[in-house]
Symmetry: C2
């Protein structure tokens, strides 16, 4: 590796978040399960947007948020994701580059616009996400920069994008490149496992040794393994992935690595405003600490600090000085 | 007036704010006077945007912010402004309607995109605005809905848009309609008077009895009247406009109406984060109270409360429950 190569390169949705507050009745009236993520067609997205309150826009995307966090903590991060050649695509590209993340994927000249995620935040700080993926799901294997993937120590894959055929093929190709170069592959389950046809594909990849580091929250781990409690999920996964990381919300986080389990408590937050991005920033802190060579405790703790920062305000990207907060 | 008519209808820039923080050195390096507003060409705007940090987007525009505030305080508000038929135009239109403001101006199919304002917020909470007006400056007289203007008790005009030829002609036409219907015309100076050719046009309109209610901050009032202190400015203006309102930042605000002067102190703010929109929301509170028939003291005080809310967070539109805060 040269000094110019990356610590981590991610593949994920390249989308702009459209964040509005709403009450519980609004979710119910629109049949949106609180805390979940739905995929919407353009028509459905327009209909929901028309009903939503006034919003603020910020660049989003789960793995993109994670790379933004890694860069904010001093890590060398890159991102691969597909925007369209439009105003929202320019906003996404500007923001991720302004944060110091290497982003070179060419915008797509297509009918499909840059993806949006309509995020509804209820007074209990829960976020309900409604994604209209647009160009983001058109990420093709030939959009990958193979040299950059080969040169990054960790390849990080987002579950949300592990479903549509083109990006899934791109991800599988990226895994081959990373492993051929001796790099680690990390995967975040997102709540992608609830979506049709994803669980089996993901389990096959895990079974085949494709994943070295798996991130999931408790619910996702249980859904993935069809188990009824988190210990069952851990038992089912611990021998299949070298490093398993499970986040537990207010219950903290745990890792099982080389057979040993480490638990850490959650970082206290004065007032939780918007939980969007909690998982994304946990992964960012974990990976940033890992890239600097810190041990598993420090990786988990740094994840907790970064997650605590992002849930204290609206939006899924850090606003405080994470470098100062985590002191890696 | 029927029960469906508006309390206030505004004409102003229809733009999306792109808000990022920066340090003083950044302003200096780019030759941007702190606290000012510059007009940028598309090329200049792209160059500045490339250098700016990661941003958040919210719908903006001075008079549009004011109408958003009026609606949030229970007033019946309408807005006239020009967006393009693009993604940012859809964001602007969605947000202002979602806030309950009547907005019917048809998007323009043009080469020019919807206007943007690149807002740089320094650690002292001062905002420096860099506007690329785009379609906003293409507002033409025939875009006006004359019936709605005639039926609104107050017509509110934004100084920023009183410069380019087309929108100035639209404004002059709107003033004729409003006065023919026996309605009041309010005008906010913005810091538009620093721009070429605007001071004389504005003074001519004041001289000709076109303005019934004039909003300015101290500096704007002095620039408009070429006086060296605020008392000189008041002396120069008090007999030319029936109601003169001057905001004084931390010094509060004053009005001179029918020869009598009323002063109110500023509302205390715990921590000032971003002064963008302070003047806009002051005008909103003042006008909302005026529309409900409250006296001049209450109009000034309500303006102060609304301004205090908006400077406590990023962005120029209220996020707290203004209805509850002002209890009109």
């Amino acid at each position: 590796m040269t000094s110019r190569s990356l610590d981590i390169i991610a593949i994920g949705d390249a989308i702009v978040d459209v964040i509005a507050t709403c009450d519980n009745d609004f979710l119910q009236a629109h049949g949106l399960p609180k805390g979940s993520m739905q995929l919407l067609s353009p028509v459905e997205a327009d209909r929901l947007y028309d009903q939503m309150g006034s919003a603020r826009e910020t660049s989003g995307g789960s793995a993109a948020n994670t790379m933004a966090g890694v860069a904010a903590m001093g890590g060398r991060a890159g991102f691969i994701g597909q925007v369209a050649n439009d105003q929202l695509g320019k906003i996404f590209s500007h923001d991720i580059r302004a944060l110091g993340v290497d982003f070179e994927t060419r915008p797509l000249d297509s009918e499909l616009p840059t993806g949006r995620c309509l995020i509804l935040v209820t007074p209990d700080a829960q976020r309900t996400m409604n994604t209209c993926p647009g160009a983001s799901h058109q990420l093709a294997p030939d959009a990958l920069d193979e040299t950059r993937i080969a040169e990054a120590s960790i390849l990080y894959l987002e579950g949300y994008l592990f479903g549509p055929e083109l990006p899934r093929r791109a991800m599988m190709r990226a895994v081959e490149i990373a492993h051929a170069a001796g790099n680690q592959v990390a995967f975040t389950v997102s709540d992608s496992v609830v979506l049709d046809g994803r669980r089996d594909g993901l389990n096959a990849m895990i079974q085949g040794g494709g994943i070295d580091l798996l991130f999931a929250n408790e619910e996702e781990a249980m859904m993935l393994t069809r188990t009824a409690d988190v210990d069952g999920a851990i038992a089912a996964l611990r021998h299949k992935v070298p490093t398993l990381v499970i986040t537990r919300g207010a219950g903290g986080a745990l890792a099982v690595e080389q057979g040993a389990r480490t638990d850490v408590p959650a970082v206290q937050v004065q007032k939780v405003i918007d939980t969007t991005g909690a998982g994304d920033l946990f992964a960012a802190g974990f990976l940033a600490a890992r890239a600097k060579g810190h041990g598993i405790d420090r990786q988990l703790l740094t994840g907790g600090i970064a997650a605590a920062e992002v849930i204290g305000h609206f939006g899924a990207r850090p606003v405080a000085d994470l470098m100062e907060l985590v002191k890696l």
